[in-house]
């Protein structure tokens, strides 16, 4: 076997140009596949990071009516949706995948928050418990967040996130200043920021509303003061944090199930659901995958053509080496021996092509990455798989020529000039 491989290299080397041209089909096919796979993997990784936010691991659970979020503005809290109590929250915290959880309420704001004459046009107002900031991985940039005193005394204090601070105060330090929320004065006590910054690059799906909500600025007030702003009728929302990104779906689902078990609504389309970012990420990945499936097909066809090229050259080689084959059979080589020799040669040829293809593919992927600014992830299993696959192509397409060689009649073969 080793001997066969050595001889194959010898044969390939003695026909450098021909061998290279034969390998070209395989090289191009494999290079294309490696480049595509690397780009897909890289893009997927990026989407996942962007959509979920690296290290963020937050899941939002809220009330839905059918497929859309329940809008309080239209009909108030529906009959049979109870207030989520501390006990229920503790039950959710007890779910295996859930690291921590907090309740909050929120509303989109349209020109309801002002500092002097500057308003937030498309932001969000949150009524939160003091744990909320921890659960959502906010870190305090300046000032402080709410404490027990703020909550028990119904203090009209507010915390801004970086975006709303920038919108309202454009660089000034907001701490200590007063803002106006629904005409009520609130004192800004702190500014918070996400511990990991969320900067999407891909704009391929409308599901980016999550991102839109976050980036246009949020203002936080103690949950206790919420009724003073909007009255009591506000469905609560839940935010979870999990340890593993992979757990997000499960944690969201289990928590929603717990909340739903307390519902006694007549309209059973009203339900708590998790905003499943992981699922969304997967959907986007599916999307990019399906567009790339076509490219994989093209690469596959190129490999097929490459394989046929290998078969063709191997057939030529068998004809050229008729005498050699005849001699070998005359002096006692078995069919299997000849078969093995030619199969090995075909396999070595295509494996070598595969190896070059992987190298070219990696270079290609890096170039694509440089040009388009997308991430590429070169996977070792894909590279190894590509070489093995090339080898299999060699064996499959080498089968016919090798079989022909093995079954040559030694007399005719020796007579061949």
């Amino acid at each position: 076997m080793l001997e066969n491989i050595r001889l194959s290299f010898q044969g390939i080397w003695s026909h450098k140009m021909r061998s290279f041209l034969t390998m070209l089909g395989i090289i191009i096919g494999i290079a294309a596949i490696i480049a595509i796979v690397s780009t897909i993997t890289g893009t997927n990784e990026q989407i996942k990071q962007n959509l979920i936010g690296a290290g963020d691991n937050n899941v939002n659970v809220q009330l839905y009516m059918g497929d859309s979020t329940y809008e309080i503005e239209y009909s108030g809290i529906p009959e049979g949706v109870p207030v989520i109590t501390r006990e229920v929250l503790e039950e959710i915290r007890g779910v295996e995948e859930v690291k921590d959880a907090a309740l909050f309420v929120s509303r989109d704001t349209y020109n309801t928050i002002y500092h002097k004459n500057t308003g937030i046009t498309g932001g969000k107002l949150y009524g939160v418990e003091k744990e909320y900031f921890d659960v959502c991985n906010y870190i305090v940039k300046s000032g402080r967040v709410f404490d027990d005193g703020d909550v028990s005394n119904f203090r009209k204090v507010a915390v801004l996130d970086e975006d709303s601070a920038e919108t309202l105060f454009s660089g000034e330090d907001p701490v200590g200043k007063t803002i106006e929320i629904l005409k009520e004065p609130y004192v800004v006590i702190g500014v918070v920021t996400k511990s990991s910054k969320f900067e999407p690059v891909i704009n391929s799906m409308d599901d980016y509303y999550m991102y839109a909500q976050r980036s246009s600025g949020g203002v936080f007030v103690p949950y206790a003061t919420w009724p003073g702003l909007y009255g009591y009728d506000e469905p609560q929302k839940l935010v979870l944090t999990v340890n593993n990104t992979e757990d997000m779906t499960a944690a969201g689902k289990k928590s929603a199930d717990i909340l739903n078990s307390y519902l006694s609504v007549t309209d059973n389309t009203i339900q708590y659901k998790a905003i499943d970012l992981l699922e969304q990420a997967k959907e986007i990945q599916e999307l990019s995958r399906s567009t790339n499936t076509m490219l994989i097909w093209i690469a596959g066809i190129s490999l097929l053509v490459g394989g046929i090229g290998v078969m063709n050259i191997m057939l030529v080689s068998v004809t050229e080496r008729t005498q050699e084959i005849g001699l070998k059979k005359a002096i006692g080589a078995r069919k299997s021996r000849i078969l093995g020799q030619f199969l090995t040669e075909a396999a070595v040829l295509t494996s070598l092509g595969g190896l070059f293809g992987v190298i070219v593919g990696i270079i290609l992927a890096e170039v694509i990455s440089k040009l388009t600014g997308t991430l590429v992830a070169i996977s070792a299993p894909a590279a190894v798989g590509a070489v093995v696959f090339s080898m299999i192509i060699g064996i499959v397409f080498g089968l016919l020529p090798s079989y022909k060689a093995a079954n040559l009649n030694p007399i005719d073969a020796l007579r061949h000039e």
Binding site: E3, Q10, G11, S14, Q323, E324, G326, L327, K328, K329, A330, I331, G332, A333, R334, K335, R337, P410, I411, L414
Partner: protein
């Protein structure tokens, strides 16, 4: 008796025409004999040798090699017989051009499953025996015709076969190289190897102890012993 052929016929199918090439050939060769097969071109010498060498099967007739009915063997067993019991020498040498003399000679050993180390040793010894101990790593293109044929003889003999078949071994050589080859054959004959050699050349045939004439597919001078020169 090492070779025992009885009533061998061989026809070739040429389009719809049946061409008889060998007609009722019977030939017996004792172990250790040195036989020359002579005859005009196209008389069927190579065809006969292919049958003796288990490369081809006769259309009819019986053939026993060292008492074994060879014709009932399958392909795989036939190649084993060729590997172990028969050495071939051809007019045009048939060496593998990219392999060294040593590798060419070692080839049948690898088919016989001999370990690499031993292969090299035995191939080297076989080459020394034909006087090419100093040319082990030469490629065929770097060797003269006579040297190439000696490499081929070393290859034929490396598995120590009982029978050496040579089809015009000196046909492509000048008379001096031809003489060297004949000396080698004589030495092998003395060692007890059975030799069947096809030749056109009377002088070459005279080295053999017995000459068989084939004319038009028939043996005309069967077992006539040649006078020792």
């Amino acid at each position: 008796m090492i070779l025992d052929l009885k009533h061998i016929y061989k026809d070739y199918q040429q389009d719809k025409l049946v061409v008889p090439v060998l007609k009722d050939i019977s030939l017996q060769v004792e172990e250790g004999e040195y036989v020359a097969v002579m005859g005009p071109s196209g008389s069927g010498k190579t065809t006969l040798m292919n049958i003796i060498g288990c490369l081809d099967r006769p259309t009819s007739g019986t053939y026993e090699l060292a008492g074994e009915d060879i014709l009932k063997y399958k392909d795989k067993e036939m190649s084993n017989v060729r590997l172990r019991s028969i050495g071939f020498v051809f007019q045009s040498f048939h060496l593998l051009p990219r392999q060294s003399a040593l590798e060419n000679v070692a080839l049948p050993l690898s088919y016989a499953g001999v370990k690499k180390r031993e292969r090299r040793e035995r191939a080297a010894r076989a080459l020394e025996r034909v006087g090419l101990g100093d040319r082990l790593n030469f490629k065929p293109t770097q060797l003269s015709g006579g040297q190439k044929q000696r490499v081929a003889i070393a290859r034929a003999m490396v598995n120590n076969p009982k029978l050496l078949l040579a089809d015009e071994p000196t046909g492509a050589l000048d008379s001096k190289s031809g003489k060297q080859i004949m000396e080698l054959f004589a030495a092998l004959h003395r060692e007890g190897v059975t030799i069947v050699m096809i030749t056109h050349d009377k002088a070459i045939a005279s080295h053999a102890k017995r000459v068989v004439q084939i004319i038009d597919g028939e043996i005309t001078e069967g077992s006539k012993e040649v006078q020792d020169a």
